[in-house]
């Protein structure tokens, strides 16, 4: 594919606008509250859009469209898995989290537990999730940009990394929020136009669209039935759990709840996020069906064997070209690039906050940091994380990194989610239980993933896997809950008794919002 000048122009425009916003945001980022939480001054609607922008990654947009193109129904199952976490966050977490926390989810967990061990574990959970997610995004970005813009892979990774460092280190949460917000609008707009153009192909009749997809697809009616995902039911359920509960444990998502001033706006954020994300996944399914209709057997886009040129992730991109020529292709390419930037910025900000707020300010400075020093540390951490992300992105160029997003969700579901959830709901949780059980979840998720078919066989080249299932969450999350429970109830120390007694105050605060950290700087 030749480089698309229009795509480059549109991307440059996006970069220019977002850099302008960063310049504006940088002048408003004066203290830690601005940097981590945009001063708590984001509205529910803005935050809902930004959450959607943070969550709808290029992996979902391109990956699920590609999945629908190749297997049909499986793509819909994935979409539902990605969506289910949202109502759960609303019913069980959002407002309590807002009432208890300040900048990171570890704030909420460490209210009645010992900050040292709990923040260390939370920071580890955050950094590991961020690292895997970030590598997957960086490699995806490099490959995508290589194809779309004709840029060299390493140059592409460096461009993404550099822009992300500028946004986050200078503009903090304010700039990150606006980058995600703009990206969400662009992505939802672009996907809407694409879905409309697809529906036009079938006279705006969804049934007809499905009919024609079945007639066109080489697998025929099989695309309406569960496909390869079914081959291993345990893995499918395990994947479902990772997506559902992992969403409620993604540090960059949880962090967004501290950007709104109160519980009411937190609820509103989830409402809008759920609507936008649900709408987006419905569009993706239509887009995937459109790709089946237009790309199957089309020699410009698939090779002789029927595989998409540039890989299955290219389904949505090729479809854009079929539907709207170079102009629309350019637009969708620029949107995909913006999507990656928004997601990596959110991830980096959350990783930097874990370093500067959970580790530096709360541990090394015992919760009494010099605010300017904390701000400086968070900026340095951003730059360091950005550079590491670029290096890892380049190092993993030839690796299959698709499993890393799944692994990030599995770890979030096995470490962050259990300790956060139990700290809010279970009086009996103690520091020992949270720390050891959480660590058990972290180690088991990684170990089972490495020993499973995806890494042990596909990446490391062994003939058979030690652990038979592709997705570890079902086991690692159960182990985490079991470990947290076991290590908590057997904890007979005086400190543990105090922690249980302190639950009452936390519980009242979570329910009423009394004493919650308000919009600090307003």
């Amino acid at each position: 594919m030749k480089p698309n000048l229009l795509a480059i122009a549109m991307f440059l425009l996006f970069a220019l606008v977002t850099l302008g916003i960063t310049w504006w945001a940088a002048r408003r980022t004066r203290n830690a509250s601005d940097f981590y939480a945009a001063g708590g001054g984001i509205t529910g609607l803005q935050n809902g859009l930004a959450i959607a922008g943070d969550y709808m990654s290029a992996a979902s947009f391109l990956g699920i469209a590609g999945l629908v193109f190749s297997t049909g129904f499986d793509g819909l199952i994935y979409s539902i898995g990605f969506l289910v976490g949202w109502p759960l966050i609303m019913f069980l977490l959002a407002e309590r989290l807002r009432n208890l926390g300040r900048y990171t989810f570890a704030d909420a967990v460490s209210i009645r537990l010992q900050a040292g061990p709990v923040r260390t574990l939370s920071a580890c959970g955050t950094l590991v999730v961020v690292a895997f997610y970030l590598i997957a995004q960086m490699v995806g970005a490099g490959k995508l940009i290589e194809v779309l813009f004709g840029l060299d892979y390493s140059v592409a990774v460096v461009v993404v990394g550099a822009l992300m460092i500028v946004y986050v280190s200078l503009g903090g949460m304010i700039a990150t929020t606006w980058v995600q917000l703009i990206k969400a609008v662009l992505l939802l707009g672009g996907a809407s136009v694409m879905a409309l153009l697809v529906l036009r192909l079938s006279g705006f009749d969804f049934g007809e669209l499905v009919q024609r997809a079945v007639e066109t697809h080489p697998k025929g009616l099989a695309i309406l039935r569960p496909g390869p995902l079914v081959a291993d039911p345990v893995s499918a359920v395990s994947l479902g759990m990772a997506l559902m509960f992992g969403t409620a444990g993604l540090p960059h998502i949880l962090m967004r709840f501290f950007t709104v001033p109160n519980a009411i706006e937190a609820r509103r954020s989830v409402l809008y996020a759920t609507i936008f994300i649900g709408y987006f996944y419905a569009l993706i399914f239509i887009i995937g069906l459109g790709a089946i209709l237009t790309l199957t057997g089309n020699p410009g886009y698939v090779d002789a064997a029927g595989a998409l040129r540039g890989g299955t992730n290219m389904a949505a991109i090729h479809l854009a070209h079929v539907l709207g020529g170079d102009v629309f292709l350019g637009f969708i390419s620029a949107v995909a690039f913006a999507t990656i930037l928004a997601v990596v910025s959110g991830l980096t900000l959350s990783g930097a906050s874990a370093i500067s707020h959970d580790l530096y300010a709360s541990l090394f400075r015992a919760g009494r940091p010099n605010p300017q020093a904390e701000l400086r540390v968070s900026r340095l951490a951003t730059v360091a994380l950005g550079v590491i992300a670029m290096l890892l992105g380049i190092a993993f160029e030839q690796q299959n990194v698709a499993y890393m997003v799944g692994l990030a969700f599995a770890i979030a579901a096995s470490v962050n989610f259990p300790i956060l959830f139990l700290s809010m709901y279970w009086r009996g949780l103690t520091t020992r239980g949270a720390t050891l059980g959480g660590a058990l979840g972290l180690l088991s998720a990684i170990t089972l993933m490495v020993l499973g078919p995806t890494v042990w066989v596909d990446v490391l080249g062994h003939t058979s896997a030690v652990f038979p299932y592709k997705h570890p969450a079902l086991f690692s999350m159960s182990l985490a809950f079991l470990g947290i429970w076991g290590f908590s109830v057997t904890d007979r120390s005086a400190a543990a008794e105090r922690e249980r007694a302190a639950f009452r105050a936390v519980f009242v605060r979570a329910q009423t919002g009394l004493g919650a950290d308000g919009a600090a700087s307003h």
Binding site: E95, R267, V508
Partner: protein, 113 residues
Amino acid sequence: MQHLYKLIHANPRFHELERKRSRLSWTLAVIVLANAFWYIGATAFYPEAGFARFWGEPVGEGQALTWGIVIGLIQTVLFIGMVVYYISRANGDLDALKDAVIADALRAAGEQK
């Protein structure tokens, strides 16, 4: 603040709030979870589970569109509807009760002074 928490915790209306909220939250959460596990689980174990067979059925004579897809898309609408219902309750009677509980506690704290 600890004193206020103690006062609130001693207020029976706080426990009414807590009971109502947790009944609402957990009922909705269980519905969502049951839905998702039913959908993903039953799909994964298809076709052994007899009722999953139903999803392969077309929605109408001569149609390719199946119930499985329709149900999948309807879930999105269902989830959004549940979120809207939760918000209406949380912003409505639950927040009113919450404000009353806080007001009670502040009044009681004032009287003690």
